[in-house]
């Protein structure tokens, strides 16, 4: 990524974070001396109070969900694993997966809009998830990631808290592949060694507080696990290789420019610490 693209991406991320920053704006408090509104009573009993909460001092969020691969993580061949595309390095040979995420959220100021997020995630992708068994074999990946990022919580003192966040992640990607050669009636077992890559995650969603201590969450996440440090190294054992995600000029099995990028639909629960009630009386 060149400097111009990086600066543009940074600007967009900041604008997205600042979008709606400063509260949900359901009400504003104003001083004045207006005459009381006259109205004809309908007999309805009006609620004389309005309750809001303080922003949590700390939030622990656990979520899990399904992953849908994009670009080279979206293998397409009659909905089954295509060993030839995988060996040629065209794609990673998988399309769908699942994952879990544990996030600690620490507010960086009293209002609680901007939060520092510390995240650990695990994602797994399998070529035979939701698809027919392929006669050409199977491939699977495990991705462990640790991330640090910034979140904007639009309404930290409300029950419903929409948020948007960006994170930089360190990823450890490993896996294994069984490549079946039907003609030769043989199977090649390949181990994909732990490979370290740096990527990013952008996610947005909603938290809904069921009580001052507990809530639920759901949202959508975009991850690119290998934005930086792509490489295709030549390994001593041809059946024990690194992830090989960089384009190389000389033919090398599994090597090609590949982005490990996917979207996730997640749902989970939140545990809140330090939430207190604030009551307005009319």
């Amino acid at each position: 990524m060149n400097k111009k693209s990086t600066a543009l991406a940074f600007l967009i991320a900041v604008l997205i974070l600042l979008y709606g920053c400063g509260g949900s704006g359901q009400y504003k408090i104003e001083k004045g001396n207006y005459s009381d509104t006259t109205y004809k009573s309908t007999g309805a009993v009006l609620k004389g109070t309005y309750k809001v909460r303080t922003a949590p001092d700390f939030t622990l969020q656990f979520s899990g969900g399904l992953n849908l691969g994009m670009a080279e993580l979206s293998s397409n061949y009659q909905n089954i694993f295509d060993a030839q595309q995988f060996v040629n390095g065209e794609n990673f040979g998988v399309k769908t997966g699942f994952g879990f995420m544990l996030t600690g959220k620490v507010p960086l100021h009293a209002a609680g809009n901007i939060r520092l997020n510390i995240t650990t995630t695990y994602n797994r992708f399998q070529s035979d998830m939701f698809t027919k068994t392929s006669p050409f074999g199977r491939v699977s990946y495990n991705v462990f990631a640790f991330g640090l990022g910034i979140e904007n919580s639009f309404s930290p003192s409300f029950k419903l808290k929409p948020f948007i966040a960006v994170e930089i992640q360190g990823n450890f990607i490993s896996g294994k592949a069984d490549i079946i050669d039907e003609a030769a009636n043989s199977t090649r077992n390949v181990k994909i060694k732990n490979s370290f890559r740096i990527g990013y995650m952008v996610y947005s969603g909603l938290e809904y507080m069921l009580s001052n201590r507990f809530g639920i969450n759901f949202g959508l996440k975009l991850t690119n696990a290998n934005q930086v440090l792509k490489q295709s190294s030549i390994d001593s054992d041809p059946n024990e290789v690194s992830i090989r995600d960089k384009k190389v000029d000389d033919p090398l099995d599994f090597a090609g420019f590949k982005n490990f990028t996917f979207t996730s639909f997640f749902i989970g629960f939140n545990i809140y610490f330090g939430v207190k009630d604030v009551l307005f009386k009319f």
Partner: protein, 275 residues
């Protein structure tokens, strides 16, 4: 009887004190605090631009390069990214404004190389599609009377899809030359669905800005593959048909990242006096 001037002079300070007290009394009038709450819009109109990222079988540009053979064999549609625009109208269906009926008209163009083709790429083929879409749906707004409105929605859509593709025959059916052939995809009617998650932010009571993410699958229903292998012009081939080129069971699915302006009608204000 005529009053003495001394008497008038004695009364003057009393008058001044009365005026002063009256002024102080006036300035000590209690100023109340009010909570001002905005009412929900009766009608919302949105004008948006889209950035599209193809997924599932609509995606087919591995290693930044299109793969003609996969388009020709009907494995993928062979695109990567795209752009578009839409107009959305939202009508409240309940008094609290949480359920809204949405009507959408959209245009999306999805291409193999949206930002130009890199000089180092090998395949000389490409595939570009246009989709004109109309949709009807429902939306749940979590915060209808807030300045910041969060919603999720779903719709059923109907689309006219057309396009064109160029196939590079190197390595296809034993050919080693650099020959190419162009094919036209005629207007094809398909139906599908969309789900979206987004937010609106009111700048004032009349106008706001809007961002959302939408997943669209435009050909869930009515998939078909027709014609012969000699055709250079044919309708979208998105169902399995053994032996027919370009035919294969394929989803025309993509994500749209949407941003635009919202125009609100019928927003008022309510004041609640705080004790």
């Amino acid at each position: 009887m005529k009053k003495q001037p001394v008497f008038i002079i004695m009364k003057l300070p009393i008058l001044l004190i009365i005026i002063l007290f009256a002024e102080i009394s006036y300035s000590q009038t209690v100023t109340h605090r009010y909570m001002i709450v905005r009412t929900l819009p009766l009608y919302t109109l949105q004008v948006n631009l889209n950035y599209n990222q193809s997924v599932l079988e609509l995606a087919g540009t591995y290693n930044d390069d299109v793969h003609s053979v996969q388009i020709y064999e009907g494995t993928t549609f062979g695109t990567d990214k795209g752009f578009g625009g839409n107009i959305v109208s939202k009508i409240n269906l309940d008094r609290r404004g949480q359920i809204r009926f949405t009507q959408t008209v959209a245009f999306n163009r999805i291409l193999s190389y949206t930002f130009g083709k890199k000089a180092t790429l090998a395949d000389q083929g490409h595939a570009n599609y246009n989709a004109f879409t109309g949709a009807l749906g429902l939306e749940y707004n979590f915060t209808p009377s807030h300045r910041f409105k969060i919603y999720i929605g779903a719709d059923i859509n109907a689309s006219i899809i057309n396009g064109e593709t160029r196939i590079w025959f190197y390595g296809i059916e034993g050919q080693l030359g650099d020959s190419t052939a162009d094919y036209n995809i005629k207007n094809t009617f398909r139906m599908g669905f969309g789900v979206d998650f987004g937010s609106e932010f009111l700048l004032n009571s009349d106008i706001g800005i809007h961002v959302a993410v939408k997943f669209l699958d435009l050909n869930v229903f009515l998939r078909k593959s027709e014609g012969t292998n000699d055709d250079a012009e044919f309708k979208l081939r998105d169902a399995d048909s053994p032996g027919l080129r370009f035919a294969g069971n394929k989803s025309f699915a993509f994500y749209s990242i949407i941003a635009g302006a919202s125009f609100y009608f019928g927003i008022g204000e309510k004041r609640y006096k705080l004790k």
